[in-house]
């Protein structure tokens, strides 16, 4: 009885990630044929390198957004916090002349403070996370302009800076592979194990499933939720640091296109919007699908505006699949 149930669970888990992987492969094949028909090429190392490279910044956002979503919360301020972080980094290096590591630490620390405030708003003041973080997004965006003005003689503008260490973080390679790809892959592995193999991950999932029941079963909901909001802000900050390191510039437009990428990838990867269901493996492949789709569309020459439209359609399709699966499940349960 035990082994039967065990293998069932395993096959179910494998199924979700497996289906997504299949979807990705189909996408790769379709783009290869489509590209060939258009006399360009999709199946080449540089394209995949490009895809992986494009994965780095949203990858960090996805980790934070995904963990939080599993616990049943969402953070609309994540990208804004990351953008703020990128500007802090530029200002700290350019205007204040701080060493790169101090600048990065300062930047991440400030991001964490915003995450902490988000968490406290939700846990202690009972704000719905949607509202608390929406307000936070607006505040942080404003602070970013103020910081930019601080590093730029009173005028809010992009701040360029020169630093060999941050340049390596952003664009350096190890054995021909961009350094930051290692960073994001390692981060995904660590958080994947954390969420699916440890007591902490189980507790996060329980909280997403039913916060009241989990609390009454002795799970420290407040602490975990605050921690996850800090994690969300921190991963946003890391995304911001890598973003500005790549450009060697604190950009006012940083992460504006990634606003919802983390959330989208997490949902596409099978993390339920209501919380309590999903894992990091799925989120990673969700992100892979999203970025492959966008880059593939670019290669076959689809108008970028249409790419945005189709990205939305892709998400809707993924959500409908989830919805129908849920309906089927509920139908079985009603009796």
């Amino acid at each position: 009885m035990k082994s039967e149930g065990n293998s069932k669970i395993k096959s179910l888990f494998q199924n979700k990630v497996f289906t997504l992987l299949c979807l990705w492969l189909v996408m790769v094949i379709v783009f290869s044929i489509w590209a060939a028909a258009k006399n360009t090429s999709f199946l080449q190392i540089s394209v995949f390198k490009n895809i992986l490279n494009s994965l780095v910044v949203p990858g960090f956002l996805t980790i934070g957004a995904g963990c939080l979503l599993i616990a049943g919360h969402l953070d609309l301020s994540q990208a804004a916090i990351g953008a703020f972080g990128s500007m802090v980094l530029a200002t700290a290096i350019k205007a204040w002349g701080l060493p790169w590591y101090v600048a990065i630490l300062l930047c991440l620390l400030l991001c964490c403070v915003f995450g902490l405030i988000n968490g406290l708003l939700v846990v202690k003041l009972n704000f719905p996370s949607f509202i608390g973080t929406l307000a936070m997004a607006s505040m942080v965006k404003g602070l970013m302009y103020l910081f930019s003005a601080m590093g730029n003689n009173g005028i809010a503008a992009n701040i360029s800076f020169l630093n060999s260490a941050t340049a390596f973080i952003g664009s350096g390679t190890v054995a021909g592979i961009p350094f930051c790809i290692f960073l994001v892959v390692i981060a995904f592995i660590i958080f994947g194990l954390l969420m699916s193999k440890t007591a902490f991950g189980m507790k996060v999932t329980f909280l997403g499933g039913n916060p009241v029941a989990a609390t009454l079963a002795g799970i420290n909901a407040s602490g975990i939720i605050i921690l996850l909001f800090v994690l969300s802000a921190l991963t946003g900050g890391i995304g911001g640091v890598i973003f500005s390191s790549r450009l060697s510039q604190g950009s006012l437009m940083a992460l504006t296109t990634s606003q919802f990428t983390g959330l989208t990838a997490a949902i596409l990867g099978g993390i339920s919007f209501g919380g309590g269901v999903g894992n990091m493996g799925g989120a990673f492949i969700g992100l892979l699908i999203l970025n492959t789709f966008q880059i593939g569309m670019g290669i076959v020459g689809v108008n970028p505006f249409w790419v945005n439209v189709f990205s939305g359609v892709l998400l809707l399709v993924a959500l409908s699949l989830d919805f129908f699966a849920m309906l089927r499940q509920q139908k079985v349960l009603v009796h």
């Binding site: 009885m1 193999k197 499933g209 009241v212 009796h335």
Partner: protein, 511 residues
Amino acid sequence: MAKTLEFRGIGKSYPGVRALDNVNFKAEGGKVLALMGENGAGKSTLLKILNGDQPATEGEILVDGQVTAFHSPHDAQVAGISVIYQERQLMPSMSVMENLFADSLHTNKFGLVDRNLLYKDALEIINEFGLNIDPAAIVGHLSIANQQMVEVMKAYRRNSDIIAYDEPTAPLSEKEIDLLFKVIEKQKAAGKAIIYVSHRMSEIFEISDEIVVLKDGKHVGTLTTAATNSAELIKMMVGRDIGDTYSSLRRNTPQEEVVLEVKNLSSPKVHNVSFKIHKGEILGLSGLVGAGRTEVARAIFGVDPVTGGEIYLNGKKVEFRHPREAIDAGIALCPEDRKEEGLIMYRSIADNITMPVVSSLRKRSKFIDRGKAAEVAEKAVKTFDIKTPSIFKMVAELSGGNQQKVILGRWTNEMMQTRLLILDEPTKGIDVGTKAEIYQKICDLASEGLAVLFISSELTEVINLSDRIVVMRGGSVSGELPRSEATEENVLTLAMAEEKHAASSGKEAEE
């Protein structure tokens, strides 16, 4: 103009499940027909079909001899049918009067809602029921019992000819039950056909004229209430004779050692509550709904803040700021609302059982030891005889009784050091057969040395299971009864003690 309702050959199939099979019976105007059966017998399904929420796969419904098809609750209402579900269908953020008249709001000549008229009409109904509720009060702020009464009034207001009640008394205290029964008697006298679903024997015998018994989706018989007794009914429902549930319980006497002592405990809704529970003792906590029983449990368990008094566990003073601290000290709580507060419905039995001990289920690698978790869950499934093919099945797929057993298994497995088990309405909505099993488990746990705080609104079960009963009223203890003096009358007297004086001087009794 008495109406009749007839079910003719009703059948309902879900994928893999035969919920109803050839059900035939007739409900006549001017009579109360009780619908009984264990959980899963098909009562709720039948009501859903009657209300037009779900179509029947076979058979037809006849209203006054006319075949009538219901495709939505609206169709059912038009045909003069109201179904009052167990789960309240209210808009919690709206006022009582808006809820009562939601589908027919009075408008003035400008087409705007006439709130004065609405207030007046709502008050009329509330007074007719003899309740003390403000028509303008927000429904979500009312006590659960009053919310239930709003639900009943909503159906009453529609003046339907056929009214079905699905366990209406579950959240009600004796006082409100009396009011409800008066209303039902009135409806009966007005020639309406009443269908009444309940698990409570005493109610069935008090209110019904006829009893239809369902078992596994089949109609196994119709009895005349006056000519039957509970033993016969139970035998029909479970298909076997379970004898006198209570007298056959195996139990032993409590020990000397005091496990929990509460001295002058106060919290926002509890004042100066004091009592002791001994090792191996089942202490009943009785009182009307809203008397503060659940709040006492929540204060002890570290959910609600303690504003005064002391709690001693095995003689040691304790203060819990979070359930975790209470659990670590050996206290466990099975909350009143299993689905909302007790379980994660869409997770496995194993996860739900091991939830409080996940942190202790670690291998040396710090990763979760799933083998050990499965072992703990398997044992609990065995101990409590949880009916499931696998510990990996979602708890949402289990019956209410088995869900309750999952929670009991969570708190009493080998990984827990539970000394005090707090049970808040542990048998609510659970069928007779499983109830008996749960009673025996509670006695077994007490025999093993656990102290049990048993909160229940069902008088017979508190009286028969408890070694001692503490009765609460309005947030305070109004008295304590030893087993020898525990009769329904004594408990009720204490539960409503000063209410008669209070009712005339103010509305304190309402709160």
